[in-house]
């Protein structure tokens, strides 16, 4: 599902450049659930964005869900992300003017299309996570846990092969966080989806099948 070789991403800083992320080799099989851990600033989120095709590495091979993202153009990367990758963020990233149902449908609109069938699927997904009676509520009218469940539904709406999560439990209390993680992993496992989760929380990381410390992926100088 994921294959990275000699990937590096750096940013300009003053007169020089700072390496934000360097991975000599990373392979993740389809259906695998992996926790990415590492100290702050180790490049976890940067790696996640590279896997999503949001960031283009300086060099290296990035193969995700059958596509060489390092070789695709920007629009093709966007299209690939919309159809094959679901993303869940620490800050949820729901759009405030839209209802729960519409937020989920936004994922479909930029993915496989937001027709009537997708509308039914979005409603069914929200019902499955216990928000069947909150379809037309806006994010501000929902609790933190409910908002995160909407974000999970949005990530799943296109039935993606890969789900990328960036500290998905960071803004929640432990009980709510565990419930949400349970839900996500259950749904992902049921769909045979690959999950990559960036986390600082050892307990959450322990719930995944494998934990990868970013420090161990750095290429030798």
């Amino acid at each position: 599902m994921i294959r990275l070789r000699d990937v590096q991403k750096s940013y300009a800083a003053g007169t020089g450049r700072v390496v934000a992320c360097a991975v000599s080799q990373l392979d993740i099989a389809a259906g695998e659930q992996v926790a990415l851990v590492g100290r702050s600033g180790s490049g976890k989120t940067t790696l996640l964005h590279i896997l999503a095709g949001i960031l283009r590495p300086d060099h290296g091979e990035v193969e995700v869900a059958g596509a060489r993202l390092d070789q695709l153009g920007e629009a093709a990367c966007d299209r690939h992300r919309g159809r094959h990758i679901g993303m869940v963020y620490q800050t949820f990233n729901l759009l405030q003017p839209f209802t729960a149902l519409e937020n989920v449908l936004l994922g479909a609109l930029f993915g496989r299309g937001a027709g009537h069938a997708m509308r039914d699927r979005a409603a069914a997904l929200l019902a499955e996570v216990g928000l069947g009676d909150r379809l037309h509520h806006r994010p501000k009218q929902l609790s933190v846990g409910q908002v995160q469940r909407v974000a999970i539904c949005r990530a799943l709406i296109n039935d993606p092969e890969l789900i990328l999560m960036d500290e998905p439990l960071g803004n929640q209390d432990r009980t709510t966080g565990e419930q949400v993680l349970d839900l996500l992993l259950r749904l992902a496992a049921a769909g045979g989806k690959t999950v990559v989760m960036v986390t600082h929380d050892p307990a959450s990381a322990a719930r995944m099948q494998r934990t990868v410390d970013l420090a161990t992926l750095r290429a030798a100088p």
Binding site: D78, G82, M87, P97, L106, L109, F110
Partner: protein, 463 residues
């Protein structure tokens, strides 16, 4: 869900800015539509008013525009008098030797009715029997024409000339002045005259001389006439005209001195001229409405009146378009102003949307992270500008029609132009389309900025 529904939602979220920006588009579109409507209706009125006025004969020293505007459009004072002899010659086929005239109807004007100043046109009954308005006699809403024929005019002219010659010669017992026959005290009024003055068949109108409240103003009760006919609306100056028999005009008290046109012979003074004999052929007219039988007749008229010293012929079909072109220049200036207003409104769209771009960076980054391409972001933001403009343009056109509904009576009173507020024209659809396009273009700059939003940087920020 579609991209345009995101645009629509974004407009709703920023409701105050949306309403204010839309208002500027509404004003610009309504102004532009109003200018076009007025220009179009004015042109239609002027061109349509030419009606059966193929040619207008008038005094030699008047300008053709003056003659046409006064005779057809009731604008200004009559530019002068010329002798009835011209009409006699025209009707006898002497001017255009081969009798190329279908009708030549004499007119005299100078008085008016009511404080509204509806002009009085003294003429023959042929104005309602021979004269053709767009190919048919003038339509009547009620009643019918008065009776005053060409022969009656000639006979009255002889009687008036005999009386005047006796008076000028200082005879002890000059022939009596002809009396105003009761049968001639009849009037036909235009539709707006009837509506404004609340006249019906049998009502009485009294011509006045001068303007009410001004020096020299006086009524002519001796020439009060009964309304025997009310014309159907024509959306032309005919609607504001009052027609009286020419005989009534000639016999109004005080008109005696000006009834005859007398040329002052060389070496004579005006006082000498007052003692010179007159004839019926010297009765003064202000215009003759002429219809040549064909193009050949028109050419003969043009040639022969070119050489004639006492009168000239004006061709409304030539004069009016020329006049409208001059008016058109003024309308063009207004159109430019309307375009400038639209331009300012477009800039306001650009500014309104551009100013939101900073606060929308995260929103755009989220959509990009969900798979939105730059082009889709461009389409969403441009769509906002286009929708804004579309609403404004549609509302602007509706406001224009509403204004036409509310102001039509005032506009008609002030300009005579009838505004048909229910008539939607094809160019209005083009106007909406154009304004929407201009608005979309105005949204392009902020849309480009939005589409260039850096995804990773803005997703990383925790707002």
């Amino acid at each position: 869900m579609r991209l345009w529904s995101i645009s629509l939602r974004n407009l709703r979220v920023r409701l105050v800015a949306t309403v204010l920006t839309t208002a500027s588009i509404v004003v610009a579109t309504a102004l532009y539509a109003a200018i076009l409507v007025m220009a179009e209706q004015t042109e239609a009125r002027y061109k349509g008013s030419i009606g059966g006025y193929q040619a207008v004969v008038g005094p030699k020293d008047a300008s053709q525009l003056e003659l046409v505007l006064n005779t057809i459009f009731n604008v200004g004072e009559a530019p002068g008098l010329f002798p009835l002899q011209v009409a006699i010659d025209l009707r006898a086929g002497k001017v255009s030797r081969r009798g190329q005239v279908r009708y030549a109807i004499p007119q005299a004007r100078g008085d008016s009715v009511s404080r509204h100043g509806f002009p009085v046109v003294a003429t023959l009954d042929e104005m309602f029997t021979a004269y053709e308005w767009h190919g048919a006699p003038l339509p009547f809403a009620a009643g019918g024409p008065f009776r005053f024929s060409w022969d009656e005019l000639l006979q009255l002219g002889e009687e008036l000339a005999a009386y005047e010659n006796g008076r000028r010669a200082g005879e002890a017992q000059p022939p009596p002045r002809p009396l105003l026959r009761p049968a001639w005290r009849q009037a036909v009024v235009g539709s707006r005259v009837a509506r404004t003055l609340e006249l019906g068949l049998g009502s009485t109108i009294t011509p006045v001389h001068g303007k009410m409240g001004e020096f020299g103003y006086h009524e002519h009760p001796e020439a009060s006439c009964e309304v025997v006919g009310i014309l159907a609306p024509t959306n032309s100056p005919l609607d504001t005209t009052i027609f009286l028999p020419l005989g009534t005009h000639l016999l109004i008290d005080g008109h005696e001195a000006g009834v005859f046109v007398v040329e002052i012979p060389p070496g004579k003074t005006p006082d000498d001229a007052k003692r010179l004999p007159v004839s019926a052929a010297r009765i003064g007219l202000t215009a003759i409405v002429v219809d040549p039988k064909d193009h050949f007749g028109a050419r003969i008229l043009r040639t022969e009146f070119g050489a004639r010293a006492d009168a000239q012929v004006a061709w409304p079909q030539d004069v009016v378009p020329r006049f409208l072109r001059d008016i058109g220049n003024a309308a063009d200036v207004l159109t430019v102003i309307a375009w400038l207003v639209l331009l300012v409104a477009s800039v306001s769209i650009t500014v309104a949307i551009y100013n939101t771009m900073n606060e929308r960076r995260r929103e755009i980054a989220i959509m990009r992270s969900l798979g939105a391409r730059r082009l889709q972001i461009l389409a969403i933001i441009t769509g906002e500008a286009a929708l804004l403009s579309l609403f404004g343009a549609v509302l602007g056109v509706l406001v224009c029609h509403l204004a036409a509904l509310l102001l039509r009576a005032t506009v008609e009173d002030m300009t005579g132009v009838h505004l048909d507020w229910l008539q939607f024209r094809p160019w209005e659809a083009w106007l909406v389309f154009g304004v929407t396009g201009v608005g979309a273009l105005a949204g392009l700059a902020p849309a480009v900025k939005g589409s260039l939003t850096q995804v990773a940087d803005n997703l990383a920020q925790d707002y």
